[in-house]
């Protein structure tokens, strides 16, 4: 065991961690937005909204993320005529993939709001869009915060898959350092520890929020 190797390559690996966090935040924002649209479409009574959204969610929930990354990577030259750079390809595939999971979380959140809320909003003269925007979604999202934080932790872990298209995020850099220094045990334990610390903080936050929500709702 020689933990010197970590100290020596610390700045290099930390740069990767910054990219990982950046990736996770962009995915979170984009995935949440697309997820809300999908969730609302999935609860819509219009069949031209309901069926495509449902098909989308089931399709992406049935695939491994790694395959979606390859798929976007191969699909983009066909659609746009040139290939995306690695960062953009990773971001697009993460958003497209995670949106399906967000959609299911948000749909459950919207369904947990009592029907009376929507009725009251409609009877006070709000349009359907205003009702969703000002009455249902604010309550639904608040209820869903613990689940969303858990999903954020999952996204943070999933960003490590950008590894496969050669993006130099944290795990890729650890891998590169290992290729040079050949100290697998120390380096992968270190990588695991770093992810563990970040994700544990996220999981603890989620648990706290869940407890607080339970207390407040009583």
């Amino acid at each position: 065991m020689d933990f010197e190797v970590i100290a020596r390559n610390f700045p290099f690996m930390l740069g990767g961690l910054a990219l990982t966090i950046q990736l996770a935040l962009i995915t979170l924002a984009g995935g949440l937005l697309l997820g809300i649209i999908l969730a609302v479409a999935r609860l819509s009574s219009r069949s031209w909204l309901y069926y495509p959204a449902t098909a989308y969610v089931h399709f992406f929930r049935g695939l491994p993320l790694i395959l979606v990354i390859f798929w976007i990577y191969f699909l983009s030259p066909v659609l746009t005529g040139r290939s995306l750079n690695e960062f953009l390809a990773a971001v697009v595939s993460f958003i497209v993939f995670e949106a399906a999971y967000f959609a299911e979380i948000i749909r459950a959140g919207i369904q947990s709001i009592p029907r009376g809320q929507a009725m009251a909003a409609h009877s006070s003269g709000l349009t359907s869009f205003q009702c969703m925007r000002f009455v249902i979604l604010p309550q639904a999202l608040r209820n869903m915060i613990p689940a969303l934080v858990t999903q954020a932790v999952v996204i943070f872990q999933d960003t490590s898959l950008a590894y496969v298209i050669g993006l130099r995020e944290f795990l890729r850099r650890v891998n590169l350092v290992d290729a040079r220094e050949a100290r697998s045990v120390e380096l992968y334990l270190f990588a695991g520890l770093v992810y563990f610390i970040f994700c544990s903080i996220g999981s603890l936050c989620s648990q706290r929020l869940e407890h607080r929500r339970e207390r407040n709702s009583l």
Binding site: P64, I66, L67, F70, F74, Q157
Partner: protein, 229 residues
């Protein structure tokens, strides 16, 4: 009155030493609903399944995979390492199996725990009062219930495991995704091959869901499981 007490003590031991039951102790400690499931000597046994679950859930699967593939062999003694490198040609496959197995076990443990906690306390009481030992209580009363309750989350976990298997391509296992990528490398038809791979995944997932739906329908206990679909 000595016998039931002894049974209780042995029950605690059981929770402590098996990965599934040990997680039961203090997750629900404040609730008091399952006091009989809480361990007595919590502090004397610091490394428990809860930590196992936490470690596996809070690190990316890819890191775990790399650990088993790159790092774990180095922790073995020299002769074992040499044997591994010389006589196990498909080591990447076994590393993948180990990683997937340990990871999925940690996730399933949580589902089992939830299933066991959802069994009404009266079931335990009734079983104990008929004179069953702790083992018999679990074997003949609790686990048959719990297993059926966890069929839906179990299906989800199985599909997750199935999808996670795609990640073993990063250590060189030739599974569906890797094959698609490999065919692309000499035909330049990546979009077609990945689409074919996607359809394969969707087809198998569909079969699994149908099969589990059938199992669930066959095994469901009237009045016990609220069936959503």
């Amino acid at each position: 009155m000595a016998t039931p007490i002894r049974r209780h003590v042995s029950g605690r031991r059981l929770h402590h030493h098996s990965p599934v039951f040990a997680g039961l102790d203090h997750h629900h400690a404040p609730g008091n609903r399952h006091r009989h499931l809480q361990g007595a000597a919590v502090a004397s046994d610091p490394i428990r399944s809860k930590h196992y679950v936490q470690v596996f859930r809070n690190t990316p699967f890819l890191v775990q995979l790399f650990f088993w593939y790159f790092a774990a062999p180095l922790l073995l003694p020299k002769p074992a390492q040499e044997w591994l490198y010389n006589h196990v040609p498909d080591y990447s496959y076994w590393a993948g199996v180990t990683a997937l197995g340990t990871y999925t076990a940690s996730r399933l443990a949580e589902q089992f725990r939830a299933g066991l906690l959802s069994i009404p306390r009266d079931q335990y009481r009734a079983a104990y009062s008929t004179g069953l030992t702790t083992f018999q209580t679990y074997r003949y009363v609790i686990v048959p219930y719990a297993f059926r309750i966890i069929i839906p989350p179990f299906t989800t976990e199985f599909l997750t495991c199935f999808k996670n298997s795609a990640l073993t391509m990063t250590i060189g296992v030739m599974e569906i995704t890797h094959t698609a990528y490999y065919v692309d490398s000499f035909t330049w038809h990546g979009l077609e091959t990945t689409t074919a791979a996607s359809l394969t995944y969707l087809f198998i997932s569909g079969c699994v869901v149908l099969f589990m739906w059938f199992v669930e329908k066959r095994l469901h206990i009237p009045g016990m499981i609220a069936r959503g679909r």
